[in-house]
Amino acid sequence: MFEPAPPILPLALERVSLRAPAGDRWLVEDVSARLVPGRLTVLLGPNGAGKTLTLRLCHGLVAPTSGRVRWLGPGAAGGPARRQAMVFQRPVLLRRSVAANVAWPLRLRGLPRGARRRRVDAALAATGLAERARHAARRLSVGEQQRVALARAWALEPEVLFLDEPTSALDPGATAAVETLVRAIAAEGATVVLTTHDLAQAHRLAEEVWFMHGGRLLEQADAAEFFDRPRSAEAHAFLKGELLW
């Protein structure tokens, strides 16, 4: 299990909206939701639904035009960013070895060498990359690179892990590997939020589903309940494979 620390969860999104830079429309409109610990949440919806932006709003990469993003746990006072990690659609790795990439954010946080070493080794072992530790990270296949990104997130022992369409660029074999790792991180105690437009993936991973369309959060429900009895027309259509954007 990841080392415990004062939690920053729950996360409250209170009527969060984001206007387009040109100012003509709303990319995220009036989203209110609550993220609680312990569940693997999938942000589901067609392309352009606002899923990525909502994720970035949660993680703090973008500020909302109106509304608030609040971390309510006691640990939030010390800066919630430190307890989070994010993996992007395409792996963003430095031109260094795999181990150096995983160690980089730990050095940033001032972790002493011994602790760094342990965490890096643990993360590489968990992601099956121990043999690649000294290899140039950018020379790996895309699937392996994404696993390096996950190992880097793993080593941070985050309380919340955001993943933005982490497998959309990967083949089925790599996708399966990544999904296994996502579950493993959740098992270590991280609260995982993942966006996808892949219905099958949502079926496989989700414990809770947030369904978005057109910038709005239409449904927030238990996974089983969402897939069996969706309440909105758009969700119905999406689940039948008819709602493409």
């Binding site: 990469l61 960013a81 990690a85 994010m86 430095l94 031109r95 260094r96 980089w104 940033l108």
Partner: protein, 233 residues
């Protein structure tokens, strides 16, 4: 054609004889240009990185200025540095005029815009690519800069080589601030100018060939280094 053949033969003879005056000139060329390059990089790379990645008021204007300075004529820089270092000038008391130190200053001013402009565009592109991820991992804009610079080392290396080329090959600035004094401030390019003004074109051309040879050696070494480092990781 005959001029080239004669010059080539002269160049080989100069190399074989290892004329001490020639060795002195080549050594000074290298010393001045490498020192200027070091100064220019020490200032230019951090400045370029900031220009590329950090948003601040006036950033656009500063970038335009740096890019414009790329085309700074060496003789103009020489004149400006001369006026600064002249005994009648503000920094005259330093006694740097007509010394290698003055030449280093002038060449550093010529090389810095190259290094700065290329560092800025390199880091800007990298900030675009890495910015979100590095922020997510806990690095603010300023903390990102050394990482981005290291990340862009391949392109920066080329910028550095371009800067070195400019330094080794320029004559307008160093002749003004150095004075082309024998055994003191004569470098390869000013020696070429001197022999040309004496009408000894064969010798001037031979020195030119040697200068090109030095440049080829330096670049060849840099290339080999790059290849070795690629294989190493």
């Amino acid at each position: 054609m005959r001029d080239f053949a004669e010059a080539f033969a002269t160049a080989l003879r100069l190399l074989a004889e290892r004329d001490p005056a020639l060795v002195e000139i080549v050594a000074l060329s290298l010393r001045v240009s490498l020192a200027a390059l070091a100064c220019a990089c020490a200032a230019g790379i951090p400045l370029g990185a900031v220009l590329g990645a950090v948003r601040f008021p006036g950033r656009g204007a500063l970038r335009v200025l740096v890019n414009a300075l790329l085309g700074l004529p060496p003789v103009v820089v020489g004149l400006l540095v001369y006026l600064l270092l002249s005994r009648s000038g503000p920094l005259g008391g330093l006694g740097l005029l007509f010394t290698p130190a003055a030449m280093v200053i002038a060449q550093a001013l010529l090389v810095a815009p190259i290094v700065t402009a290329l560092a800025a565009s390199t880091v800007e592109a990298l900030a675009e690519e890495y910015g979100d991820q590095l922020r997510s991992l806990g690095a603010g804009r300023w903390r990102m800069l050394p990482t981005l610079v290291l990340e862009g080392r391949a392109q920066l290396f080329i910028a550095v080589l371009a800067g070195l080329g400019r330094a080794l090959g320029e004559v307008g600035a160093v002749i003004l601030v150095g004075g082309n004094i024998a055994h003191a401030t004569r470098v390869m390019t000013t020696a070429i100018a001197l022999e040309t003004s004496r009408g000894d074109l064969a010798l001037a051309l031979a020195l030119g060939m040697l200068l090109i040879g030095v440049s080829v050696l330096l670049n060849g070494g840099a290339y080999a280094l790059r290849q070795a480092s690629l294989r190493h990781v």
